[in-house]
């Protein structure tokens, strides 16, 4: 048992209180406190009328988030005083439930590397028979065309830039598998090699060239194929993205709600899975994570909107039509505040990425690094409110998912990219493992990574409360037990107990804290299942320093053999 200070208030109590306030006002006059409400699984899949299509006005949207959004965020008083709101759609144990946005997959612990490699895919396009071209897109950053195969399935075929074979297609498919395993809804993406002789132009096919839609011609197909490299025998390599089930109704935004979708309840910037998406995006360097690469599809029957992430070609080292560069992932495309800094300093204000050398490990990978990757400062090319408002708890939630990807999971996903040889596959796998480990080390250090807490009261003459839990920071090997110490504080407003103390971490799978108790009441009158009676804050110290926010547990006095039970946990 560690040291116990009865009635002593911890010097860092103000910091601890931030977490405690999440659960309750902790007023000393109250004997019990209400537990926070919980979200409901799949509540957003109740039938609804079809929402309208959302049209894209890209320039306006990007300028709005880059200028208006950044002004609002940069000048936010709430941010300055460190009172950012936590995510709202979280359970009492700081997690999200399955929904039209997200489904637990890798974190359930039963996905094999084969499952990760399979991802959302089924059979893939039938390239052995006729591939009917039913539409095309000549403009835009990545030209391609829409195919209907002999089974009647529709795919968008997109190509690597000439001279960079595999760059975008491999990145797109690998990221697709990893985002899916992480829990997000993604389309079925495939690497395909097809014979151009199988392409048959549908007479009704139309193509948009310079904003003008017209009937597509054989020349248009040739023009699009000219932009990529040819394989032997008139074959081509493409990324085939299957049309998602349901009816597309436009993208979703990372803030607000879709007003005409009654299932769209939580404002998106307060959704844990969208805030935590920052971490997954940073891992995969998906710098183009913005509304334009999302899609809402109306699934009818039963009639609800499922929210997809689409188009991952700007992930890893790929900038879709070129390699990424050191700036991407480090600074927004239009970075309001750095730009102002440069203006005011005659250009002498510099960001760290400006000193990073551009070098590629392999042309099929592009610029993708682990050494210069900073999980705390990474950013997408365009700001979004959900990412801006993320808190350490959101980052930790995302990091826990990333931590579930074993080396073998990652290796299996990388193999789906069809990279030209084992060498780039191994390089990419190593880089992803390195970035995963950095993410774990960073975000596990932003909170006290306490999980699976169990409490019980031991003894009757001199009872003490025993809390056992997993410290994910120790489990992941970020720190050792010798480097770790825990400070704790117990406040029981129901029984009038206020204790604090600290204890060393121990070797072993589970950590244990023991709190001496006296004067326990057996009277349970008035305590219901929607209430709790005590809070216990636990804060990890690594190498003698406080490294992150405390974990806050809500305890309910149950009486009987166990005494207390843990009814809520916040990080």
């Amino acid at each position: 048992m560690g040291n116990v200070r009865r009635g002593h208030r911890h010097p860092g109590r103000l910091v601890l209180a931030v977490g405690a306030v999440i659960l309750t006002a902790c007023g000393s006059t109250k004997t019990t406190s209400p537990l926070p409400l919980e979200p409901i699984a799949y509540a957003d899949t109740l039938p609804s009328a079809r929402p309208g299509n959302r049209e894209i006005n890209e320039v306006k949207r990007l300028l709005t988030v880059s200028v208006g959004g950044e002004l609002g965020y940069g000048l936010s008083l709430r941010r300055w005083v460190g009172k950012d709101h936590e995510a709202l759609n979280i359970t009492r144990f700081d997690d999200v439930l399955n929904s039209a946005w997200y489904e637990h997959r890798i974190d359930l612990g039963n996905m094999t590397p084969e499952d990760v490699a399979r991802g959302p895919t089924t059979v893939g396009p039938d390239t052995a028979r006729e591939l009917r071209v039913i539409g095309g897109k000549a403009a835009g950053i990545s030209p391609g065309f829409t195919i209907q195969d002999a089974r009647g399935d529709r795919y968008l075929f997109k190509f690597d830039p000439r001279g960079n074979q595999h760059l975008a297609s491999a990145a797109g498919v690998i990221a697709n598998r990893l985002f899916y395993a992480a829990g997000y809804h993604t389309p079925e993406d495939y690497i395909v090699v097809f014979d151009s002789a199988r392409l048959v132009l549908d007479p009704s096919a139309e193509i948009t060239v310079s904003g003008v839609e017209r009937t597509m011609t054989e020349e248009d197909i040739k023009d699009i194929l000219f932009l990529t490299d040819t394989l032997s025998g008139g074959r081509y390599l493409a990324l085939a993205s299957k049309f998602v089930p349901g009816e597309p109704i436009g993208p979703f935004y990372f803030s607000g709600v879709r007003g005409d979708d009654p299932n769209d309840y939580y404002h998106h910037e307060y959704r844990r899975e969208l805030r935590g998406l920052y971490v997954v995006s940073s891992w995969l360097n998906h710098v183009d994570m913005r509304y334009a690469n999302t899609l809402d599809a109306f699934i009818d029957p039963p009639g609800f909107v499922r929210h997809y992430l689409i188009d991952f070609a700007a992930s890893l080292g790929s900038g879709t039509i070129r390699s990424h560069n050191p700036r991407e992932g480090s600074e927004y495309n239009f970075a309001l505040w750095p730009s102002l800094g440069r203006i005011m300093t005659l250009g002498f204000y510099k960001r760290g990425w400006e000193d990073v050398e551009f070098s590629q490990y392999h042309s099929s990978i592009g610029w993708f690094q682990s050494e210069s990757f900073d999980p705390g400062t990474w950013n997408a090319n365009w700001p979004n409110k959900a990412f801006n408002l993320k808190t350490p708890a959101d980052g930790y939630w995302g990091a826990k998912i990333i931590a579930k990807f074993s080396d073998d999971h990652i290796r299996a996903a990388v193999r789906t990219g069809g990279l030209p040889s084992a060498e780039p596959e191994e390089i990419l796998t190593t880089l992803l493992i390195g970035r995963r480990d950095k993410i774990i080390a960073y975000w596990y250090g932003e909170v006290t990574p306490l999980e699976r807490p169990v409490v019980r009261v031991v003894g009757s003459d001199a009872p003490f409360l025993e809390l056992t839990f997993d410290d994910l920071g120790l489990d992941a090997g970020v720190w050792t037990p010798g480097q770790t110490r825990y400070s704790w504080e117990l406040q029981d407003t129901y029984q009038g107990i206020e204790l604090s103390g600290d204890s060393d971490a121990i070797n072993g799978a589970r950590q244990t804290l023991r709190v001496g108790l006296d004067g326990l009441r057996e009277d349970l009158a008035g305590v219901t299942y929607s209430e709790y009676t005590a809070t216990m804050t636990v804060e990890a110290w690594r190498n003698g320093e406080r490294v992150g926010r405390p974990a806050v547990l809500a305890l309910r006095w149950e009486g009987g053999a166990n005494g207390y039970s843990v009814v809520a946990l916040r990080h």
């Binding site: 109740l46 300028l63 039963p302 730009s339 250009g347 400006e354």
Partner: protein
């Protein structure tokens, strides 16, 4: 993973718990849950709030939010204000598409001093032959027809006939001591038939020799200026007798220039030096009793500190020397003003036979487009320029100085848009122009 059927089952299970009995009974005979019934289910759901409730921080922040509201609105409305908003699926204008397909090209630009913005329309359907016309908001006009051959290594040869009307350039008098508010304007019509050519020849890996030549016939006449704001030159006793005001002047022009290009571009940043010298002979023909020669020299330097910061400078000199008769017509005198050595001063502000100017800029990048096709630079500058009857009479004491700052948008195709404010002895000038000063 729970797919669509699973979701469906989940919804029904959820409904069985939450739908009021009457609603559940109503559903028993009607099959799947209808959206209207689902609405009543949603109303009964007990879940966390959709967004955080208004709290003390919001209350404290409210006045700040009100204060920055105009700034945020400016930001939120920036797209519209800047005219950047593009409508999805823009509808093509049939006549524009037809004209494009036929080889008609249009654009905006400028066609001479104080011409303002002009609209240009050209026909390139019979390349290498061309015909084009341009008309400006200040009534200047330019019409050209001819032949343009463009070969490899920057070789060009152009034969063209041109009519150019510069409708209202200002004339402030000759010399440094003229007053800015004593200006007049005039109309300058010029007919030209010209043959010009240029070529670039690499000297080694870093240097390129640039040569150009010109042979032309021209006919100049001066009319009454179109500006209503200032007098026309014919009514100004100080200027009405200058050579060229009342005479129709015709020249044969022969000239050429040689340049050594030591510049290169890294990213979107020009680097290195460019030095150029030229001479042009103006020989009067028919009734014109005037011969003169014009010598000019330019030195451009772009010295990078790094890919985002650089010092750029330009040294320029021009000297017109009378070789007989009436000498140099007033409109061919050397000038200082605006991008010609004095950005705080009006274009053509100072005139005399010779000029010299030094322009210095500290340029730094503040934004670069993601795909590295364009960037925005800010710059601070210092200009110093002067005029005199002869080059060696130009004195540092008489230099007209300008300081200022601005920004420029440049693209892979070159300078695109410049906006600056300049301060000098005659006040300040705010200017938006196409193309950088150097």
């Amino acid at each position: 993973m729970i797919g669509t059927p699973g979701i469906w089952v989940a919804a029904i299970v959820l409904a069985s718990f939450l739908v009021p009995i009457s609603s559940a009974q109503a559903q028993q005979n009607d099959g799947p849950i209808k959206p209207a019934v689902a609405d009543s289910i949603r109303d009964t759901l007990q879940r966390p709030p959709a967004k955080p409730p208004f709290d003390a921080v919001d209350a404290v922040a409210l006045p700040f939010k009100i204060i920055i509201l105009p700034l945020r609105l400016l930001g939120l409305g920036f797209a519209e204000l800047a005219g950047f908003v593009v409508k999805p699926d823009p509808k093509p204008i049939p006549i524009v598409e037809t004209l494009k397909a036929a080889g008609v090209r249009g654009g905006f630009g400028t066609i001479g001093p104080r011409s303002g913005v002009s609209v240009r329309l050209g026909y390139e359907g019979l390349r290498p032959f061309f015909v084009e016309g341009a008309f400006s908001i200040r009534l200047s006009q330019r019409y050209r027809a001819g032949f343009l051959w463009q070969g490899s290594n920057g070789r060009t040869l152009e034969a063209a006939a041109t009519f150019w009307r510069n409708a209202q350039p200002y004339f402030y008098g000759i010399g440094l001591d003229t007053r800015e508010d004593e200006r007049v304007n005039f109309l300058w019509d010029q007919w030209t038939i010209s043959l010009t050519g240029s070529a670039r020849r690499p000297v080694d890996r870093a240097a390129t020799l640039v040569v150009s030549g010109k042979l032309a016939w021209e006919d100049n006449s001066i009319g009454r200026g179109k500006s209503k704001k200032v007098p026309t030159i014919q009514d100004d006793p100080r200027s009405s007798q200058l050579y060229g005001v009342n005479e129709r002047v015709k020249y044969v022009r022969v000239g050429g220039s040689v340049g050594l290009d030591l510049t290169y571009t890294r990213g979107l940043q020009p680097r290195g030096l460019y030095i150029e010298a030229g001479y042009e002979y103006f020989g009067g023909i028919d009734e014109t009793d005037s011969d003169f020669g014009r010598a000019s020299a330019n030195l451009f330097g772009y010295m990078p500190l790094n890919p985002r910061q650089q010092l750029a400078f330009r040294l320029t000199m021009e000297s017109n020397t009378s070789l007989g008769g009436e000498g140099v017509p007033f409109y061919y005198l050397a000038t200082v003003g605006s991008e010609q050595g004095g950005r705080a001063y009006h274009q053509l502000r100072f005139r005399d036979q010779a000029m010299a100017a030094f322009m210095l800029e500290w340029r730094w990048e503040i934004w670069r487009e993601l795909h590295e096709r364009s960037r925005v630079e800010a710059f601070v500058f210092y200009d110093s320029g002067s005029i005199a009857p002869r080059v060696f009479e130009i004195q540092l004491k008489g230099m007209r100085r300008s300081i200022g700052f601005g920004w420029s948008l440049s693209t892979l195709q070159g300078g695109a848009l410049v906006n600056y404010i300049a301060f000098g002895n005659e006040g300040f000038r705010l200017r938006v122009s196409f193309g950088t000063a150097f």
